[in-house]
């Protein structure tokens, strides 16, 4: 049970504007893309074959968007382990090529405690030149939300 007065969030409950510290992932070598393809089943040649990437107009194989999107879960769990991610929506804006990494970060857009303890987060991933590569939004709830009265 979370110890808080009715309607009042505990002191450590995040507020709108709070930042989720940046975290680096990668660089994602071509071998990492091959391993992700093996565990995810996404063996689209675009990510694995430089010739296919070239034919699609890219200078090299791009990192799987889902591999990069998967980095948001450890970002959030590293920030607070008492959250359940109920929704994650993302747009892949620019490719990140094999060999490069990303920097992911977040910010609390909205914070509520009642009727349920929920945060709306803005999440971003940026590439080597600080260019925005993924723009995402997540809704997260306290894991013990159903115990809060």
């Amino acid at each position: 049970m979370i110890d808080a007065a009715p309607g009042a969030p505990p002191p450590d409950w995040p507020r709108a504007g709070d930042e989720i510290g940046a975290q680096n992932f990668g660089p994602f070598a071509q071998e990492a893309l091959a391993r992700y393809a093996a565990v995810s089943g996404d063996d689209n040649p675009l990510h694995l074959d430089p010739e296919a990437a070239k034919a699609a107009g890219l200078a090299g194989p791009p990192v799987h968007g889902m591999l990069m999107l998967s980095c948001f879960e450890p970002l959030i769990m590293g920030w607070r382990r008492d959250l359940f991610i109920s929704r994650l929506s993302a747009k892949f804006l620019r490719p990140v090529l094999a060999g490069d990494g990303i920097r992911v970060m977040g910010r609390v857009l909205r914070s509520a405690w009642v009727p349920k303890p929920e945060l709306i987060l803005r999440l971003t991933a940026r590439g080597r030149s600080d260019d925005l590569v993924i723009l995402a939004e997540a809704a997260v709830q306290h894991k013990n939300a159903n115990l809060i009265s």
Binding site: S40, A52, S70, F92
Partner: protein, 150 residues
Amino acid sequence: MTACDPAQAAAASGLAPEPGENAPVRLPAIEVRTEPGEVAGFLRETGGIGTGDFVPLTFPFRWLALPAIRGLILQLTGGEGFLPVHESQSFAYERSLHINTDYVLDVEIEASEKPPRLILKMVVSTAGGEICARLETVLRIVRLVAETDI
């Protein structure tokens, strides 16, 4: 086959085409299981959180590679000379998935011509019919350019 032709893809899949030029193609329900080894491998390659004691948020994306789903995506993509490029993705969870548990997938794919895209919607339910998660995947269809075309 041209890119994004759901009618032809439905016919090729043995499915009854639905009314409308670009009506979604719905697959028969697919049974899956969150095998511990597959979950652990997925966790290892996607950020390294945990040691395989939970199912990561994006794990259900893996089921798009199942033969029935993958085959339909490839058919709707248009075959050789076209590739799907991931444009957007969403997950909405009503309850967490658990390791070593059976689930049922309901999948439908809709194609749009202008611009050429596939919109795949998947619902993950328990064997008892309780909805756990909904996914939406948007794939843009890119025509590959051979060197002789450049």
